[in-house]
Subunit: 170 residues, 2 copies
DNA sequence: CGTCACGTTGAACATTCTCAACCCGAGTGG
DNA sequence: CCACTCGGGTTGAGAATGTTCAACGTGACG
């Protein structure tokens, strides 16, 4: 339902619930920082500004999930794939993770297919289709966008949806 | 992506963002209460307990959205329909809204199909299938569950997923 | 009585899945 | 060094699932 990249945080507030309703996995070696419950409680209670910022972050995450739902419900599989690739590419670029011309994406087709709600076999064919169309190719853990415009057009990607802005402090 | 019932709240915190990334509609006449931004800010800042509770509510909503994503990605359409009906039924019952033996569900097939990510035509056929199977029937805005067990079984419904609990105050 | 929104149905088609096979490169034990 | 295995990736063929388009029914409402 989501892919995290270096610097992303997740589940900052699970401490409030009795149990997790989902799980998180690393798919590469990773350094993971944790914040214990007491610390989070303290931050929330004593730093109103930070608390507010965390609320906002939460809302933005929710927006991303809504986008994901739309993707699943309304987009054909090839659009879904293209869209996710656009998103991952932009996010990676925003944190300086793209080593032009390609981006390291250590995702097995199995994983991707699952995330996108389709069969590995079908994903494979879709990737092939995108490759043949000359839009992008994903091979040996590396994403190469050969024709950005075409990819964006297939995906119906709107760059703006990643940039949810905050209301200026009143 | 969600259906609200009497007493449900939504978007308590949109005040934090510069713009909405989604919309809300009434599908029946409804009384809607609004809380203005200043009041919400004040509550968040001065009532830590309430703020915490609202965080939790937010997390629970998020869980619901995750469930929705799972539904879209992994369930066949008949399962999706059955699952949503189970959920709506239980939620309605929890707030005393079920007038046995049936539940008023003022949802057009158009609306439902859109929410479930399928064609109105196909939804219609799925509903017919469920009716013929004797599990439930949805007609003239009223949901009648004729064989709860069968419906639950078709849906693969786990009653527990609605009852996310909070961590007891430490 | 006409209109309009919604529901229902059929038939052809497109999309996606299933199952099964095969390929390949990286590790592993003999 | 070689055969083996194993986790991906790729491909084909047939079947299931879902869509499209177009028609018709039906009740509410002016």
């Amino acid at each position: 339902m989501a892919f995290l990249m270096p610097g992303d945080s997740c589940d900052l507030h699970v401490g409030l619930l009795a149990e997790m309703d989902h799980s998180i996995q690393t798919i590469t070696p990773a350094s993971v920082a944790t914040i214990d419950r007491e610390a989070m409680d303290a931050i929330r209670d004593t730093h109103r500004g930070v608390a507010k910022a965390m609320y906002s972050a939460q809302l933005i995450d929710e927006g991303a999930m809504r986008a994901w739902i739309t993707s699943m419900g309304r987009r054909a599989s090839i659009e879904r794939v293209a869209h996710l690739m656009c998103e991952l590419y932009l996010r990676a670029r925003n944190i300086g993770l793209v080593s032009e011309p390609s981006l390291a994406l250590p995702l097995s087709q199995l994983l991707l297919a699952d995330a996108l709600g389709m069969t590995p076999v079908h994903l494979n064919r879709v990737l092939k289709e995108l490759r043949i169309a000359g839009a992008m190719s994903l091979q040996r853990g590396s994403l190469l966008i050969t024709d950005p415009e075409k990819l964006v057009q297939i995906a119906g990607f709107d760059e703006n949806y990643l940039h949810r802005r905050l209301r200026r402090a009143s």
